[in-house]
């Protein structure tokens, strides 16, 4: 079976945008050694590279959808495109959603690709993470571990 990868996306200097990176950091030592856990800063090119060659991927990122901060939404990106406008807007418009869709167009999207989006409250430069989002880190870690369990033991096995 091709490799499984977990990608935490975000920026440590911009408030709740750090959540994807924090989830990735806390997964350290809690996932089997054969699963790669990487951090990406939101550059679509980097995410595209990380996805290429993986058999399954779980991506964690911050989102703005209008839901209460700290809530976690799950998307099956292998089944359908990410909802437009859900993920953060890139200054240069080549971010996570574009990376996933480009991988789909080029046939390199992993057969299983789940996006866990943690609803953010604030993105100010130099701001700390909001309490609601900080409290969602561990639940998001658990959600990633549940995804990994699904990947290892598919429902139809």
């Amino acid at each position: 079976m091709a490799a499984t990868i977990v990608i935490g996306v975000g920026s440590r200097s911009q408030g709740d945008d750090a959540v994807g990176l924090e989830v990735a950091r806390r997964l350290g030592g809690r996932v089997p050694a054969e699963i790669a856990v990487v951090e990406q800063d939101g550059d679509g090119g980097g995410i595209f590279e990380a996805l290429a060659g993986a058999g399954a991927a779980v991506i964690v990122d911050a989102a703005l959808s209008g839901a209460p901060p700290g809530s976690i939404n799950r998307w099956d990106a292998a089944a359908r495109p990410l909802p437009a406008g859900m993920l953060r807007v890139s200054t240069h418009a080549f971010g996570l959603a574009e990376a996933v869709e480009l991988a789909r167009a080029l046939g390199s999207l992993p057969a299983r690709c789940t996006v866990l989006a943690v609803e953010a409250g604030r993105f100010g430069i130099g701001e700390a993470m909001s309490p609601a989002v900080a409290a969602a880190i561990e639940p998001a870690v658990q959600a990633v571990l549940a995804e990994l369990a699904l990947i290892r033991e598919p429902a139809d096995a």
């Binding site: 550059d43 090119g45 200054t91």
Partner: protein
Amino acid sequence: MVRKVIKVDNLARVEGEGALTVTIRDGEVKSAELRIFEPPRFFEAFLRGRAFGEAPDITARICGICPVAYQMSSVHAIERALGVEVGGELRELRRLLYCGEWIESHTLHIYMLHAPDFLGYESAIAMARDHAAIVQRGLALKKVGNELMSLLGGREIHPINVRVGGFYKVPDRARLREMIEPLKRARDMALETVKWVAGFDFPDRSRDYEFVSLRHPEEYPLNAGQIVSSRGLAIDAADYETHFEEVHVPHSTALQARIRGRGTYLLGPMARYSLNFDRLPAVARDAALAAGLGRTCINPYRSIVVRAVEVVFACEEALRIIEGYERPDAPAVPVAPRAGVGWAATEAPRGMLWHRYRLDEDGTILESRIVPPTSQNQASIEEDLTLYLKDWVNLPDDMLRHRCEQTVRNYDPCISCATHFLDLRIDRG
């Protein structure tokens, strides 16, 4: 690359990000107003009271695509304030880091943002479905730029290895030489890119721009040189504020950059190329001429070709630097704080980026000013729209919108919506 974080509706300080309003009356374009996101104003305040050594890492966060440009302008300006000169291999390594950023940024813009405009796709993703091999080439080329940035900058985006006086760490010769083969492949891909974009169908539009860029006695400009223009300006970075101003214009709420007593000007690849053709290496000059460019270029729709030529230059320059590299004894020269003012301009991928810092005797930043390329180009973008849309005003709104976006993208502007303007208004009265 950052920015993403910025969601139009959620941050009060992000006003009218990427908004463009075109006003048409009786078949004539009356005005084109572009509003852009200008984070530097926020960062200028953020820098006040910080130690000078923090400036490169703080300013690198202004732009996810051109962090090296912000680092380079900040360290050069502060080094000037402190009376420090960085030469030899450290100077060369800074050029090499900048080459990585040019490859990365230009390739992203050519392949992912601008080419779809010429080939009739709404996005690079749609283009990739029909032109997979070409998009793969773009991604592979961009990746080599990312690798150079990772190697020298510590990581791809928001490099953390640059400091006032030099670097925190410098690579050894063997590690750097591992980049030679990837860079040779990148140079080949860049040459293919020039041929590819040269075959696009370009609107026949041009005007008499005043080009502004750096010019150096020997080098194609990155970090050093005088500020020159196609109408005879030739000044030191210290004199920028004497010759350039920001003014209110009647049709816009934003401040716009002008050359005092003259008017708007254009920065970026077209300006650099037209003012420095003779400083390009032969491989880039030959590729440009074979692609049908002259020694100057005044059709902004052809800027995509110029950008591709600059990628060839960046690959060639990176190879030259690496082949001659010997690891310096120290990663930085000694730096001591003192009171003073320093200025610097360097060439960000999208044009000249000017910084000024005033420091007190212990090196605390008392004041800074950052003038990014996109705000300097804003007036020129609006003039292009007003003039060049003339023959297109009777197109249906969606086609006119496409022409507006393509025209703005000629400048590779550092705004959040370079692929899709969230808010384009066409007012036909």
